[in-house]
């Protein structure tokens, strides 16, 4: 469960990029965080994951504050960044070992999960290659496997579908649904409305740093016009 309470952030004095936002993302749901480029999505994700300091408010991950108990809070989550060009000189298997060591995953669990997910994502035979030789989609997959290795209670993804081929995008969406069905939280940002429409249990719309809507897609349509498409509603309210 992720609780965001009265959180604000500004990079320049007097210019809040995130302005007093409140969100509660429950276990077992997929929550889509929607907004235009520069709306404050990535800044919010960076605050949730402890990358950015919070100016005001607090964020709790399964009841652990990211400010006062950062290590405990971080153990409860895993992040897939928007463009995963990290640790390029490591081999896929070395990267997974490193991440598993960070989260203290046992050897038996590692073997079982690496085998399962690497085969599922069709990169099992590439694990001995350096990440730099991977395509964008493969890099995304290895980072996703890295997160799933320690089965965090909260899975956070920043623009996860961008750059993926249709097959990989389908596999990822399927995994996200399965993950949420197992009682875990999936929080992801996107600006592609179709994905939100297809995948999310609830959505939050952020515009100029402020949350302007939180609820289900049904509630959104009821509130802003039943006959309009999601795209039309979105463009109306921002």
């Amino acid at each position: 469960m992720i609780e965001i309470k009265h959180v604000s952030k500004s990079y320049k004095k007097g210019e809040k990029v995130v302005d007093n936002i409140n969100l509660e993302i429950n276990d077992g749901e997929i929550f889509g965080f929607i907004g235009l480029n520069g709306a404050g999505k990535t800044t919010t994700i960076k605050m949730i994951t402890g990358i950015l300091e919070i100016d005001e408010g607090n964020i709790f991950i399964d009841g652990k504050s990211i400010i006062t108990s950062p290590i405990e809070a971080k153990k409860q989550m895993g992040l897939v960044p928007d463009s995963p060009d990290m640790f390029l000189k490591l081999k896929g298997i070395e990267y997974l070992n490193f991440i598993a060591d960070c989260y203290n995953v046992s050897k038996e669990e590692r073997i079982e999960r690496i085998e399962k997910f690497a085969k599922e994502f069709e990169i099992y035979e590439d694990l001995e290659d350096k990440i730099e030789s991977y395509s964008h989609g493969m890099r995304q997959k290895i980072v996703i496997i890295g997160v799933l290795l320690h089965t965090p209670q909260n899975w956070i993804l920043d623009e996860p579908i961008t750059g993926l081929d249709p097959k990989s995008a389908y596999d990822l969406k399927k995994t996200m649904r399965e993950y949420a069905n197992s009682g875990k939280t999936v929080f992801f940002s996107t600006h592609i409305l179709e994905i939100a429409d297809e995948l999310c249990d609830r959505i939050g719309i952020i515009n100029k740093g402020k949350i302007i809507f939180v609820g289900t897609l049904k509630e959104l349509k009821e509130k802003f016009g039943d006959k309009k498409t999601l795209e039309e509603i979105f463009l109306d309210i921002i």
Binding site: I51, D85, K89, L90, D101, C102, K107, R110
Partner: protein
């Protein structure tokens, strides 16, 4: 032909402009010097330092009537700098720079790309010459009251001088690229070729030094004679470098006869250029394509997870990751590990070569009196530790600790590993390498000066080790506060880096600190002084760690 020259000039201008803009010394919009730029001020300080040292050297040599030693010696120094810089840069510029993919599809001939790249390399050498070469020679001219002709010749010589060395290194590199077929692993390729080129230079310099020192073993009993001998040997060495001798002669003779030496220089350069053009034309495109577009055939690999999956403690795992990122990346390897190996070897050679010479000088009746009070005291300790500090000057592990991770360095902050612990792990590579370097230097000194009691070596090791840790912490902190995370090629991290310059400032500060320590403790018992010194360093280390832990979130705020 006209079209070809136009293409070469255009491409060269693009590369040069890119290089200048990354320096940010000149604001190209306002066409003014950016006085807030730390690189600008470091260059100013460097120019002052070089001017001062050159002035001292020229004044001394003039006083003893041997001013020409400066010309011979300084040209040799400049040539070695040019060769080293070309070795480090050439393979990256010619074969592995990121721009190659973007220019290969343009309607340019390979030789046009090759010559533009060569011009860029040459331009970078001119930049270096401007800092290290111009002022010392001007000072020489002023101090020896030379005519206007000298300054005209100086400008012409400095323009022609770096061409030959740059050509030769580039030709050797083309040959090595042709000979060593390691395109499957281009990282390894870069490391090996740079290693071979530097090894060739080191062997050559070592042989030359041995030759000079062997001839000096029959040391003469007067300073004048010794200097004559040194000058003769430098001239002999210069002749091996082909372009130094005529360049020196032009500035030395300063009359119309110098046309012969100009002719010699031009012929050497033309021959070098012809060879470069010939081999470049023949091999460059083929090598360039292999280096940039090698596709590894896919094999069905059956990975044995039982063997490949290993569980380690987080500290060990983090360190393994750091070492892999350092060693598998040619630029990081050369900028950190390779530098340390090289400088340790050079310092060791110097200790082995110079200490026996110094002992011989001490035996000469004339000098015996001067050295009779020589003893091992706090001053000697500070000199040895200062020497170790200088050898660590070129280790860039810590100063690039976070920058190496690139724009995804922020991912480290999402890991459930304390930021303080990650900071410590980031320091281990530099501490380890510098400690090895310190041990080797102390062993060398112990072997050459057995008079120093063994227990002092342990104490000196502890002091050096503590200083290495403190230095590494400070350098990593600098990188943490001012990381360079936005880069396309690894070379950019250190290219014109402000942090790198701060590393040099730190070493100067360390030397001043050692000087201060020496002044404080010079009247006290050596053992007690050393223990007090260790105590001071431990206190600094503890305070640093307490403060870091307290402010870690604030310190990490630029990694985002």
């Amino acid at each position: 032909m006209k079209e070809k020259i136009k293409n070469i000039i255009n491409l060269t201008m693009v590369y040069i402009k890119e290089n200048n803009e990354s320096l940010k010394i000149i604001n190209f919009k306002t066409r003014q010097i950016n006085k807030r730029n730390i690189i600008f001020w470091t260059y100013v300080i460097l120019l002052f330092a070089i001017t001062y040292v050159s002035y001292q050297a020229v004044e001394y040599l003039k006083k003893i009537g041997k001013p020409e030693i400066f010309l011979n010696g300084y040209f040799l120094f400049l040539e070695i700098l040019i060769i080293l810089k070309t070795i480090i840069l050439s393979i990256n510029i010619f074969y592995f720079s990121k721009d190659i993919e973007n220019i290969l599809y343009l309607p340019l001939k390979p030789v046009e790309i090759l010559l533009s790249k060569f011009n860029t390399l040459l331009y970078m050498n001119y930049e270096m010459e401007l800092i290290f070469g111009l002022l010392p020679f001007i000072i020489y001219g002023i101090y020896n009251s030379l005519s206007l002709m000298y300054y005209i010749n100086l400008i012409l010589v400095l323009i022609i001088f770096p061409i030959f060395a740059t050509l030769i290194v580039s030709i050797i590199m083309i040959f090595l690229m042709k000979t060593i077929k390691l395109f499957k692993n281009k990282d390894l390729m870069q490391i090996i070729i740079t290693f071979i080129l530097i090894a060739i230079l080191m062997v050559f310099l070592n042989e030359t030094m041995q030759y000079i020192f062997n001839n000096m073993s029959n040391i003469q009993n007067n300073q004048q004679g010794t200097l004559d001998l040194v000058n003769d040997k430098i001239i002999e060495t210069n002749k091996y470098f082909l372009s130094i001798y005529p360049a020196t002669k032009i500035l030395e003779e300063n009359n119309f006869k110098v046309i012969v030496y100009y002719f010699e220089l031009i012929v050497i350069n033309l021959l070098g250029f012809a060879l470069f053009y010939f081999f470049g034309n023949k091999f460059y495109l083929e090598q360039l394509l292999k280096a940039n577009f090698y596709f590894k055939p896919k094999k069905n690999k059956k990975i044995k997870l039982n063997k490949k999956v290993k569980k380690y403690q987080i500290g060990k795992s983090y360190l393994k990751k750091e070492i892999k990122l350092l060693t598998r990346n040619p630029m990081f390897f050369m900028q950190s590990i390779y530098n340390v190996i090289l400088i340790t070897v050079v310092i060791s050679i110097l200790i082995i070569a110079l200490v026996p010479q110094f002992r011989q000088v001490m035996q000469i009746e004339e000098y015996k009196e001067q050295f009779k009070d020589l003893k091992f005291d706090i001053e000697a300790v500070c000199i040895i530790i200062g020497l170790i500090q200088i050898t660590t000057l070129f280790n860039y592990c810590s100063i690039t600790a976070y920058s190496r991770e690139g724009k995804y360095a922020y991912y480290l902050k999402t890991l459930p590993v304390s930021l303080h612990k990650q900071f410590i792990y980031k320091n281990i590579s530099q501490i380890f390498l510098n400690t090895i370097c310190a041990i080797i230097i102390l062993i060398m000194i112990n072997l050459e000066i057995p008079e120093i009691s063994g227990e002092y070596f342990y104490t000196m090791f502890i002091i050096s080790f503590l200083m290495i840790i403190i230095n590494s912490f400070i350098l990593t902190l600098i990188d943490l506060l001012m990381p360079k995370l936005e880069w396309d090629s690894e070379y950019e991290i250190l290219k014109n880096s402000k942090n790198k310059l701060l590393q040099y400032v730190l070493i100067v500060f360390n030397v001043l600190f050692l000087n201060y320590i020496e002044k404080i403790f010079e009247k006290y018992n050596l053992d007690k002084s050393l223990y007090a010194f260790i105590g001071i360093l431990i206190c600094i280390l503890i305070i640093f760690n307490i403060l870091f832990n307290k402010f870690k979130n604030k310190l990490y705020k630029n990694i985002n």
